[in-house]
């Protein structure tokens, strides 16, 4: 069901406060602009089924069993291996003898460095993989 608002880009606003989305409108339920100077922007006056489309960065789905797949781009999956090994080496360092602990701590730091590097390298650039320019294609002038 469509709304009564003809130009949402001029009659609607959104903002974030805390963990809530605030939605404001300056039109009444018939789609006419409110004429009052004060209190022009208020909550929307009509009910619209599937009225908002959100675009957002989501959190990957959690893993529940050994047969699950990782809900993350494959460029970042190796970083998860580094994260897990980092934690296990830190556990080992906490449990082991002093000389073993030093080696485990050093390996934990190495995996931590690789994890952070992988995230910095691919976490921000992931969109380039699907949306970025891969090759410059010249115009065909013939």
């Amino acid at each position: 069901m469509a709304s009564n608002i003809k130009y949402p880009d001029k009659s609607m606003l959104w903002f974030i406060e805390g963990d809530k989305l605030g939605l404001l409108s300056n039109v009444d339920s018939s789609g006419n602009t409110r004429t009052t100077d004060r209190k022009q922007w208020k909550a929307i006056s009509e009910t619209v089924s599937e009225g908002i489309l959100l675009s957002y960065q989501g959190e990957p789905n959690k893993v529940t069993s050994i047969t699950s797949s990782l809900d993350i781009d494959n460029t970042l999956q190796v970083s998860i291996v580094d994260y897990v090994k980092r934690c296990l080496y830190m556990d080992k360092a906490a449990k082991g003898r002093q000389e073993d602990s030093a080696v485990s701590l050093s390996l934990a730091r190495e995996h931590n460095r690789k994890f952070k590097e992988g995230v910095r390298k691919y976490g921000q650039r992931k969109r380039e993989k699907t949306g970025g320019t891969r090759a410059v294609v010249p115009y065909d002038l013939t």
């Binding site: 903002f15 922007w41 908002i52 959100l54 296990l88 992931k126």
Partner: protein, 116 residues
């Protein structure tokens, strides 16, 4: 051509090359911790639809928020909102940056829906 991916089973076997006694459940817990940390970066762009209710100003975006199909939003950062116009098309609406608004139009909302 198949894409090379690492599943949980594969990941556990990689880890067990070095830590043969590492418990499976503990590794899965660590994988989930890693996914939470990776979720802070721009790793998964998503879209979802929400119903709009008359006289409702605030909409939940927290961990318990769900879309129209009842699926959890799992939202980390909202960067665009579109609203359905009178033709049924979704049109991008502007974001208000100065949120010190004069009017808090919550008269018809339960107190629990006010931002915490």
């Amino acid at each position: 051509m198949a894409l090379h991916t690492i599943g949980v089973k594969n990941l556990i076997s990689r880890v067990r090359e070095v830590f043969p006694d590492a418990p499976e459940n503990y590794i899965i817990m660590l994988i989930n911790d890693a996914l939470v940390e990776l979720g802070l970066y721009n790793v998964k762009n998503m879209k979802a639809k929400l119903d709009v209710k008359a006289d409702r100003m605030w909409y939940k975006m927290g961990d318990d928020a769900i879309d129209v199909s009842g699926n959890p939003l799992n939202l980390n950062r909202l960067f665009r909102v579109d609203f359905m116009d009178s033709d049924g098309d979704y049109i991008q609406i502007p974001r208000l940056l100065d949120t010190n608004i004069l009017l808090n139009d919550v008269a018809s909302e339960p107190a629990i829906d006010f931002p915490s």
